[in-house]
Symmetry: C2
Subunit: 414 residues, 2 copies
């Protein structure tokens, strides 16, 4: 089933908020064979909403909108949907009760503006928003469906899962099966991989397609398959996935599913019953934060130190101040002591450390911005390497954290 | 000047990559009075590209495209642009030299696929990509301009700044001045603020508009102004900004510019010459990571401990194991000792600590998922409070980090 998304909000076009709803909706509907045709990001203007809805219905039978349902004056979506689907706004008692419940659970009092969330078009079927105040609205006309959803990502994601996906899939059962397999490769460029795979790619059957998705430090290879026969496609996808895995040098294979470096590392640690600690200078907590973003991180992650000031490297990780004085904080000697210190103080099985110059200031000719020393320590010893990452502060921090996580993974795999 | 963006890439529609380019382009062009009309996110298909370009040119004279320029087979944008603007692909020697330079600087060898980046339409003016291999292409027809840019956010951002903005602004000098002022409010809901401001909002002149942008823990109020007379508008925006600031209770005013909680805190610390440390359990390094994402963080941030395991709370922060045994890790007593421990061990002027249950597991009836204890410690003493944040693990962590940063800021402001 093909569908379109319209993301409504001046704040999206002003670049103050990034539309993450479209991506999460696409990921949720994809396993049901639903294919997102296009996303339009438009302003909170009735004309833009009318034009985008009409245009989307030229191509697809289902349109999902997000945003434009807030209680304040800049949101005009509901009135505009009455213009498109007919009807008028009325106060829905069930929505009002739900709004009161949600507001009460937040320890707040219902005010006039929030109460206005209970005004809904007579032409829609309301889907109660269990986790927010803006109701979801299902419109239908000439076999075409529009579902208006809130703009708050958490609310959209929750209500998609609890109510919208089931109704959509029930209303439009799919004929085609759409399946996807992923292989994550690290330590090779997109073009080097493509050159290696050129023959295999040319041999792919018509119902399968290979896509390259470069991510920081990693290239994600995705096989997309589409066929009416789900069982046949499943078997074919398994075969193609196996072929692709076999073509990647084992030292460059990060994972055979779509996982982040932190997830690949955590899974590996948990599988082997090992614990992990971090000692971060330039990455400033990014390594710890990425590991602890994962449910179950506590099964393997002891903790970490963000040793930003030199005094903290000494006090919290036992780095010799003379080493810092002689070699500088961004050096093999210091980063090795940081990793060894974290291993010991947290009592972990493996520890990583980073020390570098994230920029924009602080670079020298010898150690320019982007220079990052990294070390991985285990009971068997500590190994360090130096990298030079291009780009802005954010990018250096992100890349350094990724490479640190992958370095720990590589150490465990070897 | 009105313009549109077309973001090209199957990976965007599959939800594997989020389009952040549109937002950063919008933020860069906004100070020049450029107004983004809409964003279309489309697949790597020639038909979709042709349709989106034609449609965009109905509304605007400038279209910026991002993505679809990679060296691998799934990118067909250049061929399609030849279909739209005429011409054919040829190997451009300067682009080839640039590609060789960029690839060489990365320590890689030029392969056949990367070399194909030098193939460009005869109908465009090339803008060399100084930080990547895919060249930028400027097309012009009947007074309308299309600039094709790479999809890698760092490359697009860098080349926008270095080459594209200047050319666009030079080609279409703007008549209207567009200005924006922001006030950040914390501790009040969007509707409570709106109710408080309803009269003032009704009194706004026709050339000014107020928008509400709720962010986690904070509401951003933005006044948008547009007028032909830039000096007049500047004076009016100052007046309106002052009026709005005066209407917000001082305890709820986070900042009078568009800053993140971490930036507001860092600025306050640096202004007062104070240092900061963190002790994180459930936020897992997010507080440290957000502070150190800012250039100059080292002027105020000593460091932090991510004390995930109970043993780490004791070893690294001096938390009494008996306290953990008696009250549990998620308790007033433990979080106060964590904050006090971080204050002392890092020798900081102010420290924050978090301990909570981020979920999805680990909740109890007494301490459900989302329960987070927080403490702020200074030489004058330690204060703790407990929160209960709704939603998923990511959301609990993010909200807890935001509230912790704002708690430190509030403590400094009082």
């Amino acid at each position: 089933m093909k569908y379109a998304i319209i993301a409504i909000g001046d704040e999206l076009l002003a670049g103050q908020v990034t539309d993450t709803n479209s991506g999460s909706i696409a990921r949720m509907l994809e396993p049901h064979g639903w294919e997102l045709q296009h996303v339009s990001v438009i302003s909170d203007s009735p004309e833009a909403i009318v034009a985008a809805v009409n245009l989307a219905f030229c191509d697809v039978d289902v349109v999902l909108t997000t945003g434009g349902l807030g209680p304040t004056k800049d949101d005009l979506t509901k009135q505009t949907l009455c213009r498109i689907f007919g009807g008028e706004l009325y106060e829905n008692a069930e929505v009002l009760a739900n709004v009161e419940r949600v507001v009460g659970a937040r320890g707040l009092k219902l005010n006039r503006l929030t109460a206005a969330q209970a005004m809904v078009p007579t032409s829609c079927t309301v889907i109660q928003n269990e986790v927010g105040t803006a109701p979801l609205m299902w419109f239908e006309r000439d076999g075409k469906v529009l579902v208006a959803m809130p703009g708050v990502p958490f609310e959209t994601k929750t209500m998609m899962r609890r109510a919208v996906i089931g109704r959509l899939v029930g209303r439009f059962p799919s004929a085609d099966s759409l399946q996807r397999r992923v292989v994550m490769v690290h330590g090779m460029s997109e073009s080097a991989i493509a050159e290696m795979l050129v023959e295999w790619e040319d041999s792919l059957p018509s119902y399968a397609h290979l896509a390259y998705l470069p991510k920081p430090g990693v290239v994600c290879l995705r096989i997309d398959g589409r066929h009416t026969d789900a069982a046949f496609l499943g078997a074919e996808m398994e075969r193609l996935h196996g072929e692709l895995i076999a073509l990647i040098p084992s030292g460059n294979l990060m994972a055979a599913t779509d996982v982040t470096p932190e997830k690949a590392l955590l899974d590996c640690l948990v599988d082997r019953g090992l614990t992990f600690a971090s000692a971060e200078s330039c990455t400033g907590g990014m390594i710890a934060s990425r590991i602890t973003s994962l449910p179950g991180a506590s099964r393997a992650f002891c903790g970490g130190v963000v040793a930003y000031a030199n005094e903290a490297k000494t006090a919290m990780l036992g780095v010799d101040p003379a080493m810092i004085a002689t070699h500088g904080a961004v050096s093999r000697q210091v980063v090795e002591q940081m990793a060894a210190g974290a291993l010991k103080r947290f009592g972990a099985d493996i520890a990583v450390a980073t020390s570098g110059i994230a920029g924009p200031d602080g670079g020298t000719t010898e150690k320019p911005v982007g220079t990052v020393w990294m070390a991985v320590a285990t009971a068997e010893g500590t190994e360090a390497s130096v990298y030079r990452f291009p780009g802005s502060r954010d990018r250096v921090i992100d890349r350094a954290a990724t490479v640190a996580l992958l370095s720990a993974l590589t150490r465990l795999q070897n």
